[in-house]
Amino acid sequence: MSEKIPTRDGFGKELVELGRENDKIVVVSADLEDATRAEYFKKEFPDRFFSVGIAEQDMVGMAAGLSMQGFVVFINSFAAFLTNRAYDMLRLDLCYNDCNVKVICSHGGVTVGQDGASAQCLEDFAIMRALPNMKVVCPCDDFEARKATRAFAREIGPMYMSTSRAPLPVLTKADDKFIIGKANVLREGKDVTIIACGVMVAEAMAAAERLAKDDIEAKVVNMHTIKPIDEEMIIACAKETGSIVTAEEHQITAGLGSAVAEVLVKNCPVPVEMIGVNDSFGESGSPEELLSKFNLKDVNIVEAAKKVIERAAGV
């Protein structure tokens, strides 16, 4: 694997490209643009960048107003602060009014690291996917972050993206198709499917390598869009492999695993094991230490895969 890059960087770089192509793109910020990488845009287009200071609620409302004048508005902050603090504004201003505002949040998950639990958002998928009209995306690498940013600028309506602070290996290719709501298969396999997003896609790929050594062929699906979830892909994987492991850097409650399970129980109920944070807050530490502490490593996925295969076999 080559260089590791945080997905927040991909967002920041692509937004500048988009800004050059479309003068209707504007950014409203709440004093974390350095961390989210929206500052790349600020440097190039200072006249289209507005900071409301540390005021997430105001940022969302102002973005809604700007979008009503035909602007494509990108707002940004840490996931923990924007999604939680300004939830009422995201719900009412953006979703109920169906405003063309793109919500880009860095610092999802425990891989935020040393800042600790208050900055480690573990519930954004859950609360964002509960909102009508909202789309929810979590890219797994630099290419995907760039493509997702471009798709956000192109498609109309409120959308949420979670980006990583942690550098991530590049797992997709520059010319891979990225369509919101259409998952990508990264590795074929017939024994079990691992459905992952964001940081956990690399862990899923590493788990598949380990499983292969034990003669277990795991299919790996990169579910970059949590809403609308790719039902067709989930049902096909269930039929093909008979068991599923989900992996997310998020609470198990109401996140990716739940979204996958909602599809399965209606259509093709196969055994599912869910890798995620189990009803707890994060803490300080390095990303690697924290992934291990919260059982979010490739070895945990391997264990879950073996267990779910046994369950499917009725052992």
């Binding site: 504007v26 409203v28 289209r48 507005f50 409301v52 200071g53 005021a55 609620q57 105001d58 969302v60 409302g61 102002m62 973005a63 809604a64 107003g65 700007l66 979008s67 009503m68 004048q69 035909g70 602007f71 009422d88 504004m89 719900r91 009412l92 201003d93 109920y96 009014n97």
Partner: protein
Amino acid sequence: MPVEEIDIDALKKKAVQYRREILETITEAGSGHPGGSLSAVEIFIALYDYKMNHKSDDPKWEDRDRLIVSKGHISPVTYVTLANCGYFPKEELKGFRKFGRILQGHVHIKVPGVEFNTGSLGHGLSVANGIAMGAKLLKKDFKTYCIMGDGEIQEGSVWEAAMSAAHFKLDNVCAIVDYNKVQENGPVSEIKGLEPLADKFRSFGFETREVIGHNLKQLIIALDEFGTIKDKPFAIIAHTIKGKGISFMEGEKSWHGKAPNGDQLKEALKELAPEE
């Protein structure tokens, strides 16, 4: 138009008619918010019959002035005003709050003339600021108004927005506070007082006027001053009476959000007369 040339008496008669229609609309629905609708009648008339550029036959006209009704529960006065301006047939008022009809309980963009869905408090001023900022970017001259309740401005988000309006020098935004002194559970001054309210807005960077919010002449003069002040947002503190015009509703918290019954409606309508 100079204020001397305005037929204030005609507008006063209109206020009586609006109050009647507000009460009839809420009674027909069996629920709704009379108190804060009755207190804001003159504000709506001053905006829609005098100040705002708008076209009822072209609700999305791009140069129209915008109004964000931040206290979304005053849908009755909003809808009665829009119906009387010709945005939709008055007959539709009978469908207020009813299933399958357009007039949602809180103001809604399904209704021609409504700019933004509201209902949760403390949202409107940020949105108005965003519209106003967009107007400046597009070099458009239209103005954006935002009507807020007094209880509403206990929400911290209002003051986040107030700071932004001043910081971005949004002289095309006018915040209007319907200061009717009563909120859902009692007097504003007892629940969490706002005074000194005008000073609060001034200290946040607003050019601020205080008016009697049932005095159309005062409202019109203040609205005319908005737009003459450069580089500062404008605030009008409109001192009003909750439930204005109906003796048994005035200042009564219980009429914040309940409908009169048939007998109460009859009694209320007998009392309505033009404001002296």
